[in-house]
Amino acid sequence: MGRIFKYVMLDILKNKFVIAYMVMMSLVAWSAFTLEDNSAKGMLTLLNLILLTVPLVSVLFSAIYIYNSSEFIELLVSHPIKRSKIWLSLYWGLCGSLATAFIIGAGIPLLLFAEFTISLLMLVVGILITVIFVSLALLSTIIYRDKAKGIGLTILIWIYFALLFDGILLFLMFQFADYPIEKPMVLMTALSPLDLSRILLLLQLDSTAIMGYTGAIFRNFFGNTVGMSISFTLLILWSTIPFLVSLKKFKKKDL
């Protein structure tokens, strides 16, 4: 496993696209912190980056990489290596390289310009989002053998979490406006890793006061250690469950 992981990791890190991703991240992050007059604004720019660009790049790049290395996977399968080892090393290779790109690109300016605890939280959330969307990409490549369909599905996944889910939430809020729905809404956000991460980070960015009653409920839940650990557990579940499903399918798949 170690050798395949190392090979995949180095192969991706040498990829021009990942280098471009890293450079773009660092450009945006550095300019966000140096152009804005206070670091809070820079944090918000970075928040948008983490919530939009990171998932899109992770999910698309991983799917394309898996499809492009299908021959390589077939070659590996013909060798006496456990299938789970192959799939795990691909997963860790993708996660490791994309997370490295994210840490180098966004992490350095974050740690330099922003408050340490918040920037650490932001980094952890960014890495978790990377891992979550890599595992979702692996799942969709397993579901569809066809490249076009698989990549289509990954784009749909991204649109769903970045956009549609919030639309559905808003719709539900208006449908159930007469009821006390704040607490159910806390549960609803657990269904989207991006919403969960956004609220987790916003609560640290000193904008809870304007979120009023809802903000207070969220702060009560997410602000303490129990809530924090619950939400991190949820994020970790989001990153492992799709991967485990894909692993189970990969073991039995007729390549």
Binding site: L170, M173, A216
Partner: protein, 410 residues
């Protein structure tokens, strides 16, 4: 001959100032009460350094009380410390501390009963129930005092400067910290509040109830429950004040409730949850103010009428304005909005495209507060952008027809 008269007048002035009494451990009078008992109107009582625990001290003659090296008058948490029941009294240079607590007769550090021209200058009021309490009085001057209390909740602490049914008061240059309301006005007319620094009070920095024709200038209100609340009042002038960091779930920089004909000009609002909350306020002019880094710049309820909001800077607020209805009977004109993205072809520094300061998301949040959980999501910014291009849900007349291209110098 002229000089002779001047010297004569001076001499007369001196002789009219009355007798002088000294109170202190090394002085003829050991207690303040004994000195007050023998003094007459026009006399001066000097209190020297020391701790005086004499219960309730009542001043019933027009005398001047001056502290030397800041003597301490202590109410032992039982008594009202100084009660002034005569006009023309001056209190200067004392430290008044630990007044009693009672919810029926409201003991204060210094309380003025039905008097005129009382002057309270340069005192320290420390840990009292009410700091300075003025009732049924006119033409009093409260200047350069420092009022510090340690209130935990609204019921157990009084106000810093409490004024009730009074007229023509001047409250100048005081530091007020940790009280319920910093300054409280109820039925107080024709008064002025100037250059005070009011911070960390539990409820409001400055609170007007049923008070008319008052003004406050150049004060600083920081980190209070709400900076200033103006309620059920008319013709209040508010100029050049600073409202800072009134930040919390129900915090406002400035709260208007059922007021009319007020004028708000040249104020700075920075880092408040909501800079101004206007509820039932009419014919008020809001001009030349700076709103920066607030959650909401201006929350204007639909029951406000004929207000004019002009020539203000709205910079880096999360929401510039919000309202709870579809009807708008107020005028927005010539403001600078940092979110404005129009152009100016004829270079008259006024944008050619009208600006709609009300974002769709602020309307949604107003009608459904739970929607706040979508704050800063991609979906919401997409909604706002599309609404800006094709307004369909936000009130049609909520519009600034002459938005400025660059910020005003304020």
């Amino acid at each position: 001959m002229k000089w002779f008269f001047i010297v004569l007048l001076l001499f007369k002035g001196l002789s009219a100032s009355g007798k002088v009494f000294h109170v202190g451990a090394q002085h003829p009078y050991k207690t303040i009460k004994s000195a007050l008992a023998v003094s007459n109107g026009g006399d001066t009582v000097y209190i020297h350094k020391g701790l005086y625990k004499e219960g309730n001290i009542i001043v019933q003659k027009a005398i001047t009380i001056i502290g030397i090296d800041r003597p301490i008058l202590d109410g032992d948490k039982k008594y009202e410390v100084l009660s002034i029941k005569s006009s023309y009294v001056t209190i200067k240079g004392l430290r008044v501390q630990h007044s009693g607590y009672a919810s029926l007769d409201d003991p204060g550090g210094i309380k003025v009963y039905e008097a005129t021209k009382v002057t309270i200058i340069d005192n320290e009021l420390f840990d009292n129930f009410f700091g300075i309490y003025i009732q049924f009085s006119t033409n009093c001057l409260i200047k350069n005092n420092s009022i510090i209390a340690f209130g935990k909740e609204e019921q157990t602490i009084g106000n810093g400067v409490h004024c009730w049914k009074s007229d023509s008061l001047q409250i100048i240059g005081n530091n007020i910290n940790g009280c319920r309301d910093g300054v409280y006005f109820e039925f107080v007319n024709n008064s002025v509040i100037w250059r005070n620094i009011v911070t960390d009070n539990i409820r409001y920095g400055l609170h007007f109830m049923n008070s008319n024709n008052d003004s406050y200038f150049t004060n600083i209100f920081s980190r209070n429950g709400a900076g200033v609340a103006v309620m059920f009042s008319k013709k209040i002038t508010m100029m050049n004040n600073t409202f800072n960091e009134n930040w919390g779930d129900a915090a406002y920089g400035l709260l208007f409730k059922e007021i009319s004909d007020c004028h708000l000009s040249g104020n700075h609002f920075n880092k408040n949850t909501a800079a101004i909350f206007m509820d039932g306020s009419n014919r008020t002019i809001v001009e030349n103010n700076v709103f920066s880094n607030n959650g909401w710049g201006l929350k204007i309820q639909a029951n406000c009428m004929d207000n004019i909001i002009q020539k203000n800077n709205f910079i880096k607020n999360t929401f510039d304005v919000s309202t709870n209805g579809t009807l708008l009977l107020n005028i927005f004109s010539q403001n600078y909005w940092d979110k404005y993205s129009g152009y100016d072809l004829n270079k008259d520094k006024i944008g050619d495209v009208p600006y709609r300061p009300l974002s769709l998301y602020s309307v949604i949040v107003e009608s459904n507060p739970t929607a706040m959980i979508l704050f800063r999501s991609f979906f919401v910014s997409l909604l706002d952008q599309s609404e800006k291009k094709i307004p369909s849900l936000t009130p049609e007349n909520f519009i600034d027809n002459k938005p400025l291209m660059s910020a005003l110098r304020l």
